[in-house]
């Protein structure tokens, strides 16, 4: 399914743990990196490869919020709206992004370019408000700096 190179990656991960089951989270990260999200076929593949039930893998995929069960936008904007960010204007930031992108939180733009979600505390409270754009943190945001950032993305 994911090719012989992927098999090697999985072997290297499994070798780091006393039990193959412990490799579930890191292997799911690799699946998501390769495919953009984790579908049921991939879950079944991971399950049989690591010797656990497919339902167990599905249980992990649905428990951890960072695993995507469907594709997100090319630029996935995750705005922290927990208390410290709220005190520094994260709700206004979300409102601005919704207006600017023409979507509500939880949605993806029709062209698949942007998706927008609210997330819980990202451990960046001293540089609030902030969001995580795909893997990267963008901190001390202002509405102007957000506009500049969005304009720079293709």
């Amino acid at each position: 399914m994911l090719g012989p190179e992927f098999e090697k990656t999985v072997d290297a991960i499994v070798a780091k743990y006393p039990q193959p089951k412990a490799a579930i989270l890191p292997v799911l990260w690799e699946v998501q990196k390769a495919k953009g999200y984790i579908d049921l076929h991939s879950e079944e593949w991971v399950a049989s490869r690591l010797g656990v039930a497919a339902s167990h893998v599905h249980g992990c995929v649905t428990f951890y919020t960072m695993y995507k069960q469907r594709p997100s936008g090319r630029h996935h904007i995750q705005v922290c709206t927990t208390l410290s960010c709220m005190l520094r204007g994260s709700d206004e930031l979300v409102g601005h992004l919704e207006k600017k992108l023409g979507i509500k939180t939880g949605e993806t733009t029709p062209d698949g370019k942007f998706s927008l979600v609210r997330v819980e505390c990202l451990g960046s409270c001293g540089t609030a408000p902030m969001f995580q754009l795909n893997d990267d943190y963008h901190e001390n945001l202002t509405l102007e700096s957000v506009d500049r950032l969005l304009a720079s993305l293709d």
Partner: protein
């Protein structure tokens, strides 16, 4: 004061092992492994008075001493580093991992030596993609230099070092949930006993420490327990501490100071004072969002474990969330409740249902449709969560709820009676 934990954070050269060694790095590991016994290391840490920096403040050396003195080959020892930093208001471990990764590794390895561990797993929250990358790079360097892997520094002790990424779940910062997650399960907390030292990850003897806790260890080994005792407030609140300051202050950020820093000094001197001159201090949550809130007049307090406990709250993870008079306390508490509802793992009914119930009631008060007996209901739900669950997540929602409702009762009542907000500057925003 001399910067201890943060001495390297603005030195980019410390990111490489050569730069870290150049500043005296890995000498403490060398001293421990080549000239001390594991028990002597544990004894020194015990004498230093170092208390866990993750939230509970448990004495670190004492925790290490619970581990078996002999290793049963069928049950190797594991040392887990809790880098799941996810308590709202807390962002200190991230700083250490991103700016001084070898300090974290050196402390982890010394701890692993003390408890005779076969491997260290650093469980880092999934969102810290960059931090995990920095740590991975540092781990590779540590192996190449013989600080990790087989026969470390020529000794008979071998230990692996593995960075393990979480995938988005606050609960995995709870030590037994972290172990469940590391094993490849949902992050469900487990009942204690058995305690991790008896049966932890993979049912083997295990010790779990926070990132900042182990970052203190190289300094204790290098300079001695007596030196550590001279920093902070001996005998029970010793050593340097990283304070996380966020909210309505001019200069939020991480500040290092000896344990026992007066809160007003942190807010008004280090933090530059309140954000707006016309909005004075109203309240502070001193230890991450799960601890009881303090009113402004309660803020003449030193930031250490025992001084804050005497005020009925906790140092916790030292995440100070500062709120000015423009803050609606109902909205603030509703946001906290939303967090715990979202993050409850769902195992225990009082937490799973109770946190959602708190959130719904707080949201209706905030939105102007609260009922007269809602305040009693909030207290009743909270009191039925506390103590009735496997882990402390439910308590972490209930304790702030009780403190907000009792300390800012007039604001909550005003919302119910007048369907408007007493703090004035914040409009009713509705529910999210």
């Amino acid at each position: 004061m001399e910067r201890i934990l943060t001495r390297n954070i603005d030195k980019p050269e410390a990111l490489t092992i050569a730069g870290y060694e150049g500043a005296g790095g890995y000498q403490a590991l060398r001293k421990a492994v080549t000239s001390m016994t594991p028990d002597a290391v544990t004894e020194e840490v015990k004498k230093s008075g170092l208390r866990g920096r993750g939230g509970a403040g448990f004495p670190c050396g004492l925790k290490w001493s619970f581990m078996p003195k002999e290793v049963d080959p069928k049950r190797p020892h594991y040392f887990l580093i809790n880098a799941d930093e996810s308590e709202p208001g807390t962002f200190k471990d991230r700083l250490l991992m991103e700016k001084d990764p070898h300090l974290v590794l050196e402390g982890s390895l010394i701890g692993a030596f003390a408890i005779r561990a076969k491997a260290v797993y650093i469980y880092i929250r999934g969102e810290f993609v960059y931090g995990a990358h920095v740590l991975d790079r540092a781990v590779a360097e540590a192996y190449a230099k013989g600080y990790a892997g087989k026969n470390i520094l020529g000794s008979s002790w071998s230990c692996d070092l593995i960075v393990h990424r979480g995938a988005g779940a606050y609960i995995c910062g709870e030590e037994t949930a972290l172990m469940s997650s590391l094993e490849g399960n949902r992050g469900y907390p487990r009942l204690k006993p058995p305690f991790p030292a008896a049966s932890g990850v993979w049912a083997c003897p295990t010790t779990i420490n926070n990132v900042e806790t182990v970052a203190n260890v190289p300094f204790i080994i290098e300079r001695g327990a007596d030196w550590f005792q001279s920093v902070g407030k001996a005998p029970k609140n010793t050593g340097p501490k990283l304070y996380c300051l966020s909210g309505h202050v001019k200069r939020p950020g991480v500040y290092e100071a000896p344990l026992g820093l007066p809160m007003r000094e942190l807010i008004y001197e280090l933090g530059g004072g309140m954000l707006s001159e016309d909005r004075p201090l109203k309240a502070v949550i001193p230890g991450g969002s799960s601890v009881p809130v303090l009113r402004a007049e309660e803020c003449d307090v030193d930031l250490d474990f025992d001084s804050l406990a005497a005020k009925g709250t906790m140092l916790g993870s030292a995440g100070l969330m500062v709120m000015d008079t423009g803050t609606c306390m109902v909205a603030a508490m509703a946001r906290i409740a939303h967090f715990y509802h979202h993050e409850s793992c769902g195992q225990c009914t009082p937490c799973r249902e109770g946190c959602g119930w708190l959130e719904r009631v707080l949201n209706r008060i905030e939105g102007g449709t609260g009922k007269q007996d809602d305040l009693d209901l909030l207290l009743s739900v909270s009191n039925n969560i506390i103590g009735n669950t496997i882990c402390a997540l439910g308590d972490a929602a209930a304790m702030p709820a009780i403190s907000f409702v009792t300390k800012f009762k007039d604001e909550f009542k005003h919302h119910i009676d007048h369907k408007s907000c007493l703090s004035g500057t914040v409009q009713l925003q509705g529910v999210r």
